[in-house]
């Protein structure tokens, strides 16, 4: 059947083109980060060249990238631990106690997802400044935790609701307290989902720009802020900023492969199952 072959060929071609469209921009940056200055500015673009690590050395030696890396790690780890810790406990509280207002509280969290970052940022900046906490980790950690909590709560609720009700009840009959039932029975079962939620929170925090940029100072800048300072300057140092971008991007892309199936449900707040 030639018409079927033709159609399959067309399908394959479109899917392949879409893969190229996805990969080429990322590949360009990774490639540029290994290029010597003279290989970056060429027409046409050089796809093969003598690789060098100079740009990475430069980014770390005169760009404070080591510090930014540590700052990003600290903010991402603390804020995602907070979101996941508070979020799962909250989800347990909302699902397992027949709380009268649990639906209203859940919806209150979801409405938080509609607030523009800048609307939160402007007053946060003024408030943090007046209590002397501007320029510390407090601003980005608080902001990232608040942004991540709604989806962590939502996700954890959907995990707990998927469990058979008898599981918790039999633990309670065996003499466990509510908290023991959560710690020993429920939490271990939903752990894989919770880990995925933690990674998604970390990914948001790791990549987030505007809170980290305005609420920190020279000593607490994160990686995206560091990169924005490279990009913002009048002449962009493409080699150095590509190296910084590659270091920032690769760990999260690698981790992303492992939580593939959670990417969709994570960002829709569990409303769609992956």
């Amino acid at each position: 059947m030639p018409s079927k072959m033709l159609r399959n060929g067309g399908k394959g071609l479109i899917l392949a083109l879409f893969a190229l469209w996805t990969v080429i921009p990322i590949w360009m940056v990774v490639m540029t980060s290994f290029k010597k200055q003279k290989d970056i500015f060429t027409v046409p673009v050089k796809w093969t060249f003598q690789p060098t690590f100079d740009n990475y050395a430069k980014a770390f030696s005169n760009g404070d990238f080591g510090l930014y890396f540590l700052n990003s790690g600290a903010v991402a780890i603390v804020s995602s631990l907070l979101s996941v810790g508070l979020g799962t406990l909250c989800a347990y509280g909302l699902t397992s106690f027949g709380l009268k207002r649990s639906r209203a509280i859940t919806n209150f969290f979801m409405l938080g997802k509609l607030v523009p970052a800048v609307t939160m940022l402007l007053p946060m900046f003024v408030l943090l400044q007046s209590v002397g906490l501007l320029g510390t980790y407090v601003g980005p950690i608080l902001a990232h935790t608040a942004v991540n909590l709604p989806f962590v709560v939502w996700l954890a609720i959907s995990f707990i609701k998927d469990l058979p009700k008898e599981l918790e009840q039999s633990a309670l009959i065996d003499g466990c307290t509510r908290m023991q039932a959560f710690r020993k029975i429920i939490f271990p079962i939903i752990l894989p989902g919770v880990v995925a939620a933690a990674i998604l929170s970390m990914q948001y925090s790791w990549n987030e720009l505007v809170f980290s940029m305005q609420l920190t100072d020279m000593g607490t800048y994160t990686l995206p802020v560091g990169i924005s300072r490279f990009v913002g300057s009048v002449s962009v140092d493409w080699g150095k900023s590509s190296a910084a971008a590659t270091i920032t991007m690769l760990p999260i892309i690698v981790v992303g492969f492992f939580i593939q199936k959670h990417l969709a449900e994570g960002t829709t707040g569990g409303a769609v199952k992956g």
């Binding site: 921009p25 508070l86 523009p116 003024v126 007046s130 991007m249 593939q260 409303a271």
Partner: protein, 293 residues
Amino acid sequence: MTRSNRSYLAGFLVLPAVAVVFLAMIVPLGYAAVMSLFDFQIGRENSGTFVGLKYYIAFFQDSVALHSLYITLAFTVIALALELGLGIGIAVLLSGIPERLSKPLRAIYSMPLLVSPIIVGLIWRYLYDPTFGLLYQWLGAVGLADDFGGLAKPGSALFSIIVADVWQTTPFILLVVTSGLSTIPSEVYEAARMDGAGFLRTLVRITLPMIGKVILLLTLIRGTDAFRVFDIIYALTNGGPANSTMSLSILAFKKGFEQYEMGYAMAISLITMLILIVLFAPLVKRSSFMVKE
């Protein structure tokens, strides 16, 4: 455990999370609502003078602000349409090929989702560079380089940003639609095939209606995201050239942090939030975004 003890524990579990959101979201919003009624300088909040609704009225008389509203709406509509079209299209194609091929492809397709917006900005500024950018080199090869203004011309800057946004967020649509498609039972397609329905007819009559709910939810999530757009514009053009990419969020940011008109900036950002809520409230009600009975 008695009933009151139980709700005591439940409250104890729920409260910390509610407190964080209250502290980081509700308190700032309330503060912004109050301070947007004052003309004040950063660091001297207490010596501000009360100006009432002056800034809210000013917004609707400020041609730059109204233009920003228009830009924001245009960005939202065009980006959403392109992303939904492309995302659904690729997801449908992907659902028709064997799992061992579609799985790795899905992994490749989802990469842009994980890239920081500032890096997306860096990448696309590099691609759009007029002298050595890949895009111009390819356009030049077919003789179109001179017609395309890229990020530098007011006529094409917004569209250039939308292209970068499509690059980053179409994978999200693709992933969600893919999981939506997997819930359609294969019998439905078999029945359609038996009735002799072609590809297009099946798509329009069966596939799209079956994932209607998913599309609604995506329109809500991506639509509200697009309306709040900040990062990618900040990274690519910062509102220029000639205000042609000035979204409401960018405008509020600039007023607050570059021109130090904090009161006006807060008013703009609150108006942005209110317009967003008014525009998307009907969708919130109809979608599975919130818990219902």
